[in-house]
């Protein structure tokens, strides 16, 4: 590996008030995966946008095969053989798989129109070549699941013979099995000599698939090297610039009386016969693969969707939750998985987000009391160590981790009995992650009860008192989380297989 396929040096990029990238360098080598690691806000997204021609760097140079290139537009990046696969794939739902793969470079007939037959057969060849022969080129993209959409995005990359493939958190919304498939595919890309940039928050994935790493912190490059020579702690140290003693806080909460009991909750299509109970001061983990019906159960508990059957009791008394407003009144709150869509109101200030469900408590005869709103917001956001320049800052301007803190602060301010956290640390940086985990420990210490839906095994095993595993809309197993519980058991339950090479 003498010469890097792609090298960046001295790249800087500023936005008003923020130096997003500061003298950054990065090398990608053919046939190797380089992991880009950093907390949210470290400049990873800006770098991806620079590499794909969306942003133009203020300083520095980009070389491909040793030659200086300028990326003036996404199109020029495309022509230079750079392609990116994003966290949320940017493809077209209403178009077919083949059209998505060949958009912009479709084979033409001699009349200059698109040669559909050639396009379909070429798409089929590409898909089969990467072991995704099960995807039909004529299928509309919207009919595919997220994992298959990723495969289409990869197929697109292969079809333009991109030499440099950027994968921006490709595993964020994939299940365990789908991630495995993706890794097989990445190995395939490596063997074809592609230079791959892999961005992920998950260390196990990085160690599993990447050869090299580059760490960003606060817009600067703080370290790089071969993963084989670098233990995980060393990299975490580089990322946060401080030592992370323990990933999961130890806690000694006493589990009390039963608070919530759910019996035989059913939904026509999403889940069947869900029964469980939750005690005071307990963290109940819900583990399962994506699509197991966990979020749907939680949204029914929160009154957002209506179950067809079943009963919910709070402190032994039946409650009828017809809307989120009812649930909030009863003391059940829900931190949704889709933060941007369901959690924060992006274009409103922080304080208006936090005070929203508590407005009737802190207003006078229906009139807003700004001083109360600021006081309430300050109390809860400071407890969560929110990083913001002011409480009037719009939520949209904050990082994912800080937005999550706003959503949690909003719910804590309602002084709930039960807090449901749906993938609470999905897509947020390791620092915020630790803060959220620590805070969950505080919450149960104060007598709240927590239901945590998570697809990350370490989180489930590190935080829960009890674990319920769901598969295909049903509860498969329930485990007390003690020394005897191992990850392999949970995985087996979730995936519905007898043996797992874990």
């Amino acid at each position: 590996m003498s010469q890097p396929k792609l090298s960046l040096s001295g790249i800087s990029k500023s936005f008003p008030g923020v130096r997003a990238l500061d003298d950054v360098s990065l090398e990608l080598y053919s046939g190797e995966v380089t992991a880009l690691i950093g907390e949210n806000g470290a400049g990873k997204s800006t770098l991806v946008k620079t590499l794909t021609g969306i942003y133009h760097p203020d300083e520095g140079e980009i070389r491909i095969d040793g030659e200086v290139v300028t990326l003036t537009s996404p199109h020029s990046a495309f022509e230079l053989g750079i392609t990116a696969i994003h966290q949320e794939t940017v493809l077209f739902d209403e178009m077919s798989v083949a059209e998505n793969i060949y958009l912009g470079h479709a084979p033409k007939t001699r009349f200059g129109t698109i040669d559909l037959r050639a396009m379909h057969s070429k798409a089929k060849t590409v898909l089969e070549g990467m072991g995704a022969g099960h995807i039909e080129p004529a299928t509309l993209l919207k009919e595919l699941g997220i994992a298959n959409k990723h495969l289409v995005a990869v197929a697109r990359a292969l079809s333009i013979e991109a030499q440099i493939v950027i994968m921006d958190e490709p595993t964020a919304s994939l299940s365990h099995k789908e991630i495995e498939d993706l890794f097989v595919l990445i190995e395939h890309l490596k063997s074809e000599g592609k230079a791959i940039l892999f961005i992920s928050h998950k260390f196990d994935e990085i160690y599993r698939i990447a050869d090299r790493y580059t760490v960003f912190r606060d817009g600067g490059m703080v370290g790089k090297g071969l993963l084989a020579d670098s233990p995980q702690n060393e990299i975490i140290q580089l990322m946060v610039g401080r030592s992370v003693d323990q990933i999961f806080p130890a806690r000694d909460s006493s589990i009390g009386e039963q608070v919530l009991s759910v019996s035989q909750l059913s939904h026509p299509t999403e889940f069947h016969d869900i029964s469980f109970e939750l005690r005071q001061g307990e963290i109940l983990g819900f583990y399962g693969l994506v699509g197991a019906g966990r979020s749907e159960v939680m949204q029914a508990l929160f009154g957002f969707t209506r179950p067809s059957r079943g009963q919910v009791r709070l402190d032994g008394k039946p409650v009828n939750l017809k809307s989120p407003a009812d649930a909030i009144k009863a003391g059940i709150v829900y931190v949704p998985e889709e933060r941007g869509k369901q959690g924060v109101v992006a274009d409103l200030p922080i304080f208006q987000n936090v005070s929203l469900p508590s407005l009737h408590e802190i207003s006078k005869n229906g009139f807003l009391q700004l001083a109360n709103e600021f006081a309430l917001t300050r109390e809860y956001t400071e407890r969560l160590d929110l990083r913001a320049s002011s409480l009037s800052q719009h939520a949209a301007t904050l990082s994912g981790g800080n937005q999550q803190k706003i959503v949690i602060a909003k719910w804590l301010a309602t002084r709930p009995r039960v807090i449901i956290l749906d993938e609470p640390t999905k897509g947020i940086d390791i620092g915020s992650k630790a803060a959220v985990h620590e805070f969950m420990g505080d919450l149960v210490g104060q007598g709240l009860s927590v239901v945590m839906v998570s697809s990350e095994l370490p989180e489930i095993m590190g935080m829960s008192d009890r674990v319920i595993v769901m598969r295909e809309g049903k509860i498969i197993a329930e485990h007390i989380n003690d020394e005897t519980l191992d990850a392999a058991t949970l995985l087996r339950d979730a995936a519905g297989i007898e043996e797992v090479a874990a």
Binding site: K341, Q342, F351, P357, S363, L368, E382, S390, S392
Partner: protein
């Protein structure tokens, strides 16, 4: 972004002073434009600065502006009501029918308000109950309401409203200050408080920004939207009373084309046509601007059709300007 990170950090309420944000706001820009138009009008015509002329000028906008106040709330919530002018026609027709049965002024007022409210509730039920886009529903009810008017009246008109009914559209509270103008000022204050100072108003902004997150935060989105359509219907009923009183008659073509002028007031006032942002103060200033321009053009004997070209051009500029400025700024950043 800073390197100094302490455990418990104090976060200030706001960075800019309220004065700073007030100076660089859309309302300030509008106010400047309004003053400019006032000065131009004063120089252009010797009749403009007369108190009675100015008082007459207010009649150009008070009725529309009353509806614009409610329309602003609807648009901020992410919906729209195109049926407002048709509601005026229907409410006025209902008052005319009541008149045929010998109704006196108080009964006429109640009929006008109730008709507006019922029409608004009908819109609200269709939008929130069926979950259909309000632009489609209210295009439908626009034809529906005015159609009923045409069926009832044909080419006829209701006339002969009681003498004391004329007060609403023609009466003066004190000197040159008309009843309509006073009603508008009082309504503007109430709507200002409702939108900017109450929980209900906050919920309108939240819904306009992100209806799903609003619902996930316990806001009863359907109920708020339903109430807003009722409110717009009610204000259309109020406008119907004023307009019928001022004209002294009801024809099915009454107030035709007003919905677009009303939406122009709202958008010119800085309300985001896509919802989520806006202010009552802006809408009030915009109403004054439109009223003064109409009156100024009238004094110069500019034909009405030119006024409508002007209104159209203004609407496009106002919607395009903020977007172009934003794009320009973004371009400068990149």
């Amino acid at each position: 972004m800073s390197e100094q990170k302490t455990i418990m950090r104090h976060i200030p309420d706001r960075l800019d002073s309220p004065l700073h944000s007030a100076i660089f706001s859309w309302q300030t820009l509008l106010l400047t434009v309004a003053i400019g138009i006032f000065v131009i009008n004063s120089f252009a015509s010797p009749y403009f600065l007369d108190p009675w002329s100015l008082s007459d000028a207010t009649f150009n906008f008070t009725e529309k502006a009353l509806i614009a106040l409610a329309m602003a709330l609807v648009i901020i919530s992410g919906e729209i009501d195109l049926s407002v002018a048709a509601i005026i026609a229907l409410a006025s027709t209902m008052m005319g029918i009541a008149l045929q049965f010998g109704a006196d002024t108080p009964v006429l007022v109640v009929v006008g308000l109730l008709s507006g409210l019922v029409c608004g509730a009908f819109n609200g039920l269709l939008v929130t109950g069926l979950g259909l886009p309000s632009i489609v529903i209210t295009i439908g009810t626009m034809s529906f309401f005015r159609g009923i008017s045409f069926i009832v009246l044909g080419d006829q008109a209701f006339k002969g409203y009681p003498i004391d009914f004329a007060y609403f559209g023609q009466g003066y509270v004190w000197w040159v200050i008309s009843f309509e103008f006073v009603l508008f000022v009082v309504s503007a204050i109430i709507f200002y408080a409702l939108l900017h100072k109450t929980n209900f108003g906050r919920q309108i902004f939240v819904i306009g920004n992100n209806p799903i997150a609003a619902q996930f935060s316990g806001v009863r989105v359907g109920r708020v939207k339903f109430l807003l359509f009722c409110l717009t219907g009610l204000m259309s009923g109020v406008a119907a009373i004023l307009l019928t009183s001022r004209l002294g008659s009801t024809r099915p073509s009454i107030a035709s084309g007003w919905e677009l002028e009303i939406i122009t007031f709202v958008v010119l006032g800085g309300v985001n046509i896509l919802g989520g942002a806006g202010s009552i103060l802006g809408v009030v200033i915009a109403a004054f601007i439109m009223g003064m321009v109409t009156f100024g053009f009238g004094l110069q004997n500019v034909p009405g059709i030119v006024m409508s070209v002007f209104t159209g051009a203004l609407l496009i500029c106002v919607i395009a300007l903020p977007i172009v400025v934003r794009r320009f700024r973004k371009g400068a950043i990149e």
